[in-house]
Amino acid sequence: MQRPVLRSPAAFAQEALKPERGVINQMMTANSFADPATEAEYVSRLSLCDVSFLQRFGCKGPTAAEWLSAQGLPVPEQANHYVQQGELRVLRLGNSEFLIEEEAGSEQLAQLNQTDVPERVHAVLRNDAAFVISGPLVSELFAQVCDIDVIAELEDESRLVMTMMAGVSVTMLRQKSAEGWQYRVWCDGTLGVYLWQTLLTIIQELGGGPVGANHYFKSN
């Protein structure tokens, strides 16, 4: 039977924006919301991009760290830290819980997803809404949606934080890109529509806007 085309957890919130869509990693994804110049302008102020389509693998258990190491993956030594190795990001969410995310175009996680996990390691089904927030006005956005000083908390580039954003539990980290700092945010997929709408409302008030996946990744 043909595998179904998946929907981004935030897709419903994006309908009204009439994005140009395409399939990435088997997920129907908003590739662009406006012409490249407009989206670049948003990124130069404040932008929001839905990257829920990225492949992920989650696991949890007392021997999860050892098993991941045995699979040749870099494992952060401490909880609430992450390691980026090539196309893979390995996030250590707790002492025994991990999230691994892969950039579009890479297929390393496909192998991992097909590997049987051993005893005392449990594969964790993921349904994340994942966003990239970038632009120099992020501090103003975070000031409105986060109680903690996220930017200060993420000054150490290997750190990740689990906090509340607009009333929703999120995991966040910061990465440097050619366009400046990018903040990656993950939340439960059932809250994806809400978080997208809430963030975008404020981002638009601040003069920014949504950008499609094409801005960061070229879809097929």
């Binding site: 929907r7 957890p9 005893e119 089904l125 103003e140 409105q144 439960d188 059932t190 809400y194």
Partner: protein, 967 residues
């Protein structure tokens, strides 16, 4: 007539931007930057409002955000503080609380009735005859008060922001500025907040004609603005102090919640008025108000005036007035001697007569009672607080500047938990013991000399830096000595005719305090409530200290034994739009949300989720009741499907998984066969029913547990907590969001599902309670045979990302079978027909399993489960209530009882209805209710009292309604 003077260095107006506005219909010219009050005063308009109670004319008093008798309306907003809110071109302003205009206010006659309207008069009059009280209440409310609420006020969305810093400094006067620089120079991130439009505090207006003060301010501001570690926020006030140094900073655009590692309170002090007859007339103002008018707005407070003082500040005021072009006719000092000899000499050198040990006995109003005509000077007896009229004289003038002392702006310190003490050296309350991480500097700390205030700011900052870990920072000492205190110990002048106002917000005179004490209200908290002192919009900033002094003298007690009233957040009136702000109300959507919306789903909030209550089929115009009955009938006669993704879904892994569930739930799970499930009833430690779900065994060390929709987070959290307490080898994964679920129910459900899966769904292979893993519509799914809404039903759990695909496939496949979606309303009816109770709906926070016929779910022979010990105690006692199923008579057509209607027995309440509904399938009204144990037998009748008081007969039945019908 204009009182505008030549340009002053540092003035806050932009003379290049003239503008016009109207006040009470009169066109007024102003400059950009003028406040409403400064513009009107510059134009010679001195009646800025009417007082709250007696409707007396009032003008400028403090000019510091607390002139609550100068409140305006612009037709949209009301109670606009004219002393601080800038005027803009084209504004049309009116004073609030007047009838017929501020000058000819029809209610001004009330002033003449004032002897009959002392404080508390409304407690003692108008309550007889009782029926007349609403009439009088209406009259009083109309006559007294402030602006009228505009119910068409435009909705404003104000964002709430968060900010963080090492040191939050509240008040950007000299102490605050120097503290900011010191802390910033030690590498600390500083937020400096000031309620004024520009920083500087008294450095901007209290010059005593010395121009070097403004130079000093310029230097400090330059250093602050150039310092990268300092963020200066002006035009915003710190609204309160909350735990862990959380301070909401209220600006025009909303509230910023500042979370600081330490806080320095450099809020200064409020100038206090001396109390003498007619001290409220337009033209009589505080010395600092006069200074602000001169230096900030280049406006003369009056042409010819008198300064009355109880401290040295009056001398400084006099010098500033002279520098502003005012003819100062006399300086009246209530003290026996002046304090600062240099200041006294400077004043004297201007040819001004200084009257020591003197007071203003009264101000004589102009004939229209709208201003000052002259003042009566007299000797002053500090012991009796009375005037010695044998040496009285009169001076014709048009204004009075008055200074009696200061009250620390210590509300934030009180809120932080500071212990204050009364310091007789400065005659004010000062911090005695500050909470950890909170520091005070400047006038609020009892330090008044400018050089010392700058040093006190450095001292506080150094203390803060040390508190933050900078142990090498040197301690700074601040020592001061006074010849005379900066505040007068009792700046009151008694007058037989009264009108010597203590509280300008509420028109409270000295005699009102004396009368209150005579009536027994001689405790500060009682006096506050009886007289309403400090309860007006300025919250006693200019009256509480004098009130305390008066009460202390009445009771012959030292001031510190009187104490102060409680200062609660918010420190200053704050717009509701700010307090409301942008709210975050997260709601969760299932993977099928879009489908529900597109297919007529009437969405409702169900806890954190949005769920369809029922569906309006395309083109139909069904009522909710019709739709629900149709959906339920579809389940009974064909098939229906509900989105059950909101169910809590938790995986329990590990070698102790079975043992863990045995401890956590009431039933037995260690012996549960793979591929089967049991009801999982959760109790709290008191034995109260908390949740009931299903625990299914997927492998020796793996269970899949469901919970009620509203309890997922609670149960997961409780599992985590117990796991830590019990130290078991178990891993928990909350899949509530990652897995979607749908329940396909009804006689045709098996036939529909068979077309989409290879799983054998027939009874023998897939009995009630079984769980299997198989593909449904090409997606790997967990399928459970359940019987919550129908005898034949399948719960299909799939990854959320594929759920919409599966849902659509089933709906399409089921179309020929008559499959319909059904919502939560039909689900409630269906489960009621099946006879299943809902925890938290049919049970409450006290219900135990014995009361809800859930005894069969208890494995009391287990070694332990949560709530077991409480149940053992409860089991030995008779039950007090019993949850029963009931039916109403066939064909019942009277008023339908509602949920929570009471069960009545012999006039006594014995229970309540928990669920009730009409079932079209059964053609009967069915329900559940708590009743007394002796009413719970099968076939027994009981009465339900409806909202209209009717008693409706109900009959207890046992078993499933649905099955009873089938029989």
């Amino acid at each position: 007539m204009t009182l505008r003077i030549a340009e002053k260095k540092g003035e806050w107006i932009n003379r290049d931007m003239p503008l016009t506005f109207t006040y009470e219909g009169q066109t007024v010219e102003a400059f950009e930057g003028d406040t409403m009050s400064s513009a009107l005063w510059a134009a010679g308009i001195k009646v800025l409002g009417r007082s709250f109670k007696y409707h007396r004319a009032r003008g400028v008093l403090s000019f510091a955000n607390h002139d609550v008798n100068a409140l305006m309306t612009d037709g949209v907003d009301t109670n606009i503080r004219a002393d601080v809110i800038p005027v803009s071109h084209g504004m049309e302003l009116f004073a609030v609380n007047t009838e017929g205009g501020v000058v000819k206010d029809k209610n001004r006659f009330i002033d003449r009735l004032s002897p009959f309207l002392p404080v508390g008069f409304y407690y003692k009059t108008f309550f007889k005859p009782r029926m007349m009280f609403p009439f009088w209440e209406n009259k009083i409310r109309k006559a007294a008060g402030l602006g009228k609420v505009n119910f068409d006020y435009p909705r404003q969305l104000r964002p709430k922001r968060n900010a963080h810093c090492d040191v939050l400094i509240i008040g950007a006067g000299p102490s605050g500025l120097s503290a900011a620089l010191t802390a910033a120079n030690h590498g600390k991130q500083v937020i400096l907040v000031d309620e004024n439009r520009y920083a500087g505090g008294s450095l901007g207006y209290d010059h005593a004609a010395d121009s070097s003060t403004s130079d000093k301010l310029e230097t400090l501001l330059k250093q602050v603005s150039e310092h990268s570690n300092i963020r200066l926020i002006c035009d915003a006030y710190a609204g309160g102090y909350y735990g862990d140094h959380l301070v909401p900073v209220v600006g025009k655009e909303g509230i910023t919640k500042v979370r600081a590692r330490s806080v320095i309170v450099a809020t200064g002090a409020f100038e206090q008025p001396p109390v003498f007859r007619n001290n409220d007339l337009p033209g009589v103002m505080l010395g600092s108000a006069a200074q602000r008018l001169v230096h900030r707005y280049a406006v003369k407070p009056f042409h010819r005036g008198v300064v009355v003082t109880g401290n040295d500040h009056g001398y400084r005021t006099a010098l500033d007035l002279i520098a502003g072009g005012v003819e100062v006719l006399a300086l009246v000092d209530m003290r026996q001697q002046s304090g600062d000899e240099q200041l006294a000499a400077a004043v004297a050198s201007k040819g001004i007569t200084i009257h020591l040990a003197s007071c203003i006995y009264e101000v004589i109003p102009s004939s229209d009672k709208l201003g000052v005509a002259e003042v009566v000077l007299a000797g002053y007896d500090e012991q009796t607080a009375s005037a010695r009229l044998e040496h009285s004289s009169r001076i014709a003038c048009d204004g009075v500047a008055m200074s009696a002392g200061w009250a620390p702006a210590a509300a934030l310190l009180y809120q932080a938990g500071t212990k204050m003490r009364y310091d007789y050296a400065v005659e004010q309350f000062v911090p005695a013991q500050l909470p950890e991480g909170v520091f005070a500097a400047g006038k609020v700390n009892g330090v008044y000399d400018l050089a010392l205030r700058l040093r006190d700011g450095q001292r506080a900052a150094a203390d803060a830096v040390r508190y933050l870990g900078g142990q090498d920072v040197e301690q700074i000492e601040v020592t001061q000595s006074f010849q005379l205190a900066p505040s007068h110990a009792y700046p009151i002048v008694h007058h037989p005719d009264g009108k010597n106002f203590v509280d300008f917000d509420e028109d409270i005179q000295v005699k009102d305090f004396i009368n209150a004490a005579k009536e027994g209200f001689d405790n500060i908290e009682l006096m506050k409530r009886f007289t309403t002192v400090g309860m007006g919009p300025s919250q006693g900033k200019h009256s509480n200290m004098n009130a305390i002094r008066i009460l202390a003298r009445i009771r012959q007690l030292p001031v510190e034994q009187i104490g102060t009233t409680t200062a609660r957040p918010f420190f200053h009136p704050t717009p509701l739009a700010h307090l409301g702000g942008r709210g975050f109300h997260p709601h969760r959507l299932t993977a099928m949300h879009e489908w529900h919306v597109n297919h007529g789903g009437v969405m409702m909030e169900a806890g954190a989720w949005m769920r369809p209550a029922w569906y309006q089929p395309q083109g139909a115009k069904l009522t909710a009741q019709q739709a629900v009955q149709q959906e339920a009938m579809a389940v009974r006669n064909a098939a229906g499907m509900i989105d059950g993704s909101t169910l809590g879904k938790i995986e329990v892994f590990g070698q102790d998984a079975g043992a863990f569930l045995e401890r956590f739930y009431t039933g037995k799970f260690a012996d549960l066969q793979f591929g089967s499930s049991r009801v999982a009833l959760l109790l709290d430690e008191a034995g109260v029913m908390v949740d009931d779900g299903v625990a299914a065994r997927l492998a020796e060390d793996k269970f899949y547990v469901s919970t009620n929709s509203s309890n997922a987070a609670t149960v997961y959290r409780e599992m985590q907590r117990n796991l830590q307490l019990w130290g078991m080898s178990v891993t928990l994964v909350n899949l509530t969001g990652a897995m979607a679920a749908m329940t396909l129910a009804g006689p045709a459900s098996g036939s529909i599902l068979t077309e989409l899966t290879e799983l054998d769904l027939f009874e023998e292979a897939f009995p009630q309670g079984a769980i299997r893993t198989a593909e449904v519509a090409g997606v790997q799914a967990r399928i459970m045979r359940v019987a919550f809404v129908a005898d034949l039903a399948f719960e299909i759990h799939v990854p959320s990302s594929s759920a919409l695909h599966v849902w659509q496939k089933i709906m399409k496949t089921g179309q020929p079978f008559g499959l319909r979606p059904f919502g939560t309303d039909a689900q409630r009816l269906l489960r009621l027909e099946m006879g299943h109770h809902l925890i938290s709906h049919d049970t409450d926070g006290l219900t135990n399993p014995f009361e809800a016929h859930a005894g069969g779910l208890l494995a009391m022979d287990k070694a332990f489960f949560t709530g077991q010990r409480s149940l053992q105690i409860l089991a030995a006692k008779p039950v007090k209530k019993q949850l029963v199923k009931f039916v109403l008579d066939p064909g019942f057509s009277a008023e339908l009882p509602k949920e929570c209607n009471l069960v009545i027995n012999a006039g006594q309440i014995t229970g309540r209805v928990t669920s009730i509904a009409y079932s079209e399938y059964l053609n009967r009204v069915i329900g559940m209710a708590f009743v007394a144990p002796d009413q719970a037998a099968n076939g027994q009748q009981f009465d339900i009292r409806t909202d209209d008081g009717l008693l409706v007969k109900a009959r207890v039945v046992q078993g499933s309604f649905f099955k009873l019908s089938a029989q």
